[in-house]
């Protein structure tokens, strides 16, 4: 699988990551090498094999839908990089 710098830029945007030009160059080479190694999986015939959904017998767990108030909301708000009163503050969303 050939990876181009354009691929790296496309994926970086999906992942919300900014890279310098140097980082992009290095990543292009590294991703190509790592993904090339993954091609090994094509040796395995999996046409009749189901994908793993869970490694142990997990069953869906239901519980009563009862509201429990989290006691330390101040502790949550205190971690905000920017806030106003009890709100998280961000830059303008609609551009």
């Amino acid at each position: 699988m050939k990876i181009t710098q354009k691929d790296v830029e496309y994926v970086a945007n999906l992942a919300r990551l900014e890279f310098s030009e140097d980082e992009k160059k290095t990543l292009t080479l590294q991703l190509e090498r790592i993904l090339g190694y993954m091609d090994k999986l094509n040796e395995v015939n999996t046409s009749d094999i189901l994908p793993t959904a869970s490694v142990v017998d997990l069953k869906n767990i239901f519980r009563e839908d009862i509201v429990e108030n989290f006691k330390n909301t101040d502790g949550i708000i205190a971690n905000a990089p920017e806030r106003e009163e009890r709100f998280f503050k961000v830059k303008k969303i609609i551009e």
Binding site: L31, T46, P51
Partner: protein, 487 residues
């Protein structure tokens, strides 16, 4: 006071007032102060809190109140588990100032049993790495030789126990992050079955693989610690509602390994393994045979695909889990930006280190439109085959024995330029996580350079008992656990 004591001896001494919890805690605190400037295993030390807690326990004992199973025992915690009011950084710049607003279930369980949380340990950023060199803060040194890595990602926790800076430690294991550093540092490292221990309050990396587990100097101590942290937790719906056995009593009641069948998978005894490692492992197998176990050759035919499967699945899950670091509710925020999207990109670009970004990129690529089936879908199918290999093997044997890693610890800086080479350090530990089975690494020898070698023992789902029994019998029959690094 001696850090070489087992925790059962120490807890008894505390209960019988031979020594106080305050004295034990003060003793380990002094060892940390004396040695951690060189080893740099710790991110933070809770000196005041630890001593206060120890005094509380001593008061309990003085007044004749019942105390917990770990009364007065100092334990170090990998810095990806939350404790209310304390920093949890995951050794990442993005969480440099993050103060946990809640406490992980494992920490609550430790506190209920009167353990003393003495501090948080260094790790590869977000648990991504095999050497602890990916920490954004510091490089942790191997106590056996400070030019060498301690393994990773739970390197700080492994060093803390190996160098006698704490009696016990907790780590997390997604692809070998407990067993591989345990092997590198010459201690016991146990990754329980997926679901055995609640992960509530563990910062998620690969949710279908992550598991909290133990570090200790002796097998019986890990058995006791496992007993304390195991069990169903309604806050983690992947935790299993299966009774927790009295692991410690169980392993003490077994004196030999008669009647047990142990498998040696031929795919784990291949060329490319360090000669000293393969010799140490072969010698250990002879010991297991002498103890009465029947040794059988088995095959796990899809082993060679495990690294490729893992490095698709773990980064895919990580890319989703780490999407929450958006610099809005917590974490590093870059201020000089042109709008919200730009804030996301710049904050994450600066806040995450290069290995974390590499894995987010790999995972995002593998999950992106047009590639999902070829990578993620394919990997989950091959994972089914790897899991089936183990199911077939466990029809014939009770446990599987392998080297923990293909080599002993490597030199600091030796593999940092080549991510793929670093990923291959996990070749023998990864299949266990992919199948969700329990695995343990115990000390089984040394290389010519005097670096520890680890023996890995894998068991059936929820059968930690058998691998602990084998480990304990092996430990009783050998003397590797009595060796200590000079720090």
């Amino acid at each position: 006071m001696d850090y070489k004591e087992s925790i059962s001896k120490l807890t008894n001494d505390v209960k019988n007032k031979v020594i106080s919890a305050r004295e034990i805690t003060g003793y380990f605190m002094d060892r940390i102060k004396k040695n951690d400037s060189q080893l740099t295993a710790f991110m933070e030390i809770y000196e005041k809190d630890s001593l206060l807690k120890a005094e509380e326990i001593d008061k309990k004992i003085q007044s004749g109140q019942k105390t917990g199973l770990l009364a007065g025992l100092p334990i170090a915690i990998k810095d990806n588990m939350c404790i209310t009011g304390k920093k949890t950084t995951c050794s990442s710049k993005i969480l440099e100032n993050y103060i946990s607003p809640y406490t992980a279930t494992v920490i609550e369980k430790l506190e209920q049993e009167d353990a003393i949380i003495i501090g948080k340990t260094n790790m590869d950023e977000f648990a991504m790495g095999s050497s602890t060199e990916n920490s954004a803060y510091k490089v942790t040194k191997n106590p056996w030789n400070k030019d060498y890595i301690p393994g990773g990602s739970s390197g700080g926790s492994a060093v803390s126990v190996s160098a006698g800076l704490s009696a016990l430690a907790l780590g997390s294991d997604t692809g070998g992050s407990i067993r591989q550093p345990a092997s590198c540092c010459g201690v016991v490292g146990l990754k329980p079955t997926y679901g055995r221990v609640s992960r509530y309050g563990l910062i998620a990396f690969g949710s279908s693989l992550d598991q909290i587990g133990t570090f200790s100097k002796y097998v019986a101590d890990s058995a006791l610690l496992l007993q304390v942290i195991s069990g169903y937790d309604r806050k983690d719906s992947t935790s299993a509602n299966i009774p927790v056995p009295d692991y410690k009593a169980l392993i003490n009641s077994r004196k030999d390994l008669k009647g047990l069948k142990i498998g040696l998978p031929k795919e784990y005894f291949i060329s490319g393994i360090d000669k000293d490692v393969s010799e140490a492992v072969k010698e250990s197998i002879k010991v297991l045979e002498k103890l009465g176990a029947t040794i059988l050759d088995i095959s796990l035919p899809h082993t060679e695909y495990a690294v490729a499967v893992y490095y698709i699945l773990a980064p895919s899950e990580a890319s989703a889990n780490l999407a929450r670091f958006d610099s809005v509710k917590y974490g590093y925020r870059e201020e000089n930006t042109s709008g919200l999207m730009d804030t996301y990109r710049k904050s994450r670009g600066k806040g995450f280190g290069s290995e974390v970004k590499r894995r987010i990129m790999l995972g995002t690529y593998a999950l992106s439109a047009g590639y999902y089936d070829a990578y993620y879908g394919k990997a989950q199918r091959v994972r089914t085959l790897i899991k089936k290999d183990f199911e077939e093997a466990f029809k014939k044997v009770d446990a599987i024995v392998t080297p923990t890693a293909p080599s002993a610890a490597f030199k600091i800086g030796e593999r940092t330029d080549d991510p793929l080479q670093m990923y291959l350090s996990d070749i023998f530990t990864i299949p266990c996580n992919l199948a969700g089975i329990p695995g343990i690494s115990i000390p089984c020898g040394f290389t010519k350079n005097n670096l520890p070698v680890g023996l890995q023992i894998l068991g059936r789902h929820f059968d930690e008992k058998t691998i602990l029994e084998i480990s304990n019998s092996y430990e009783q029959a050998t003397a590797w656990h009595l060796k200590y690094p000079e720090v």
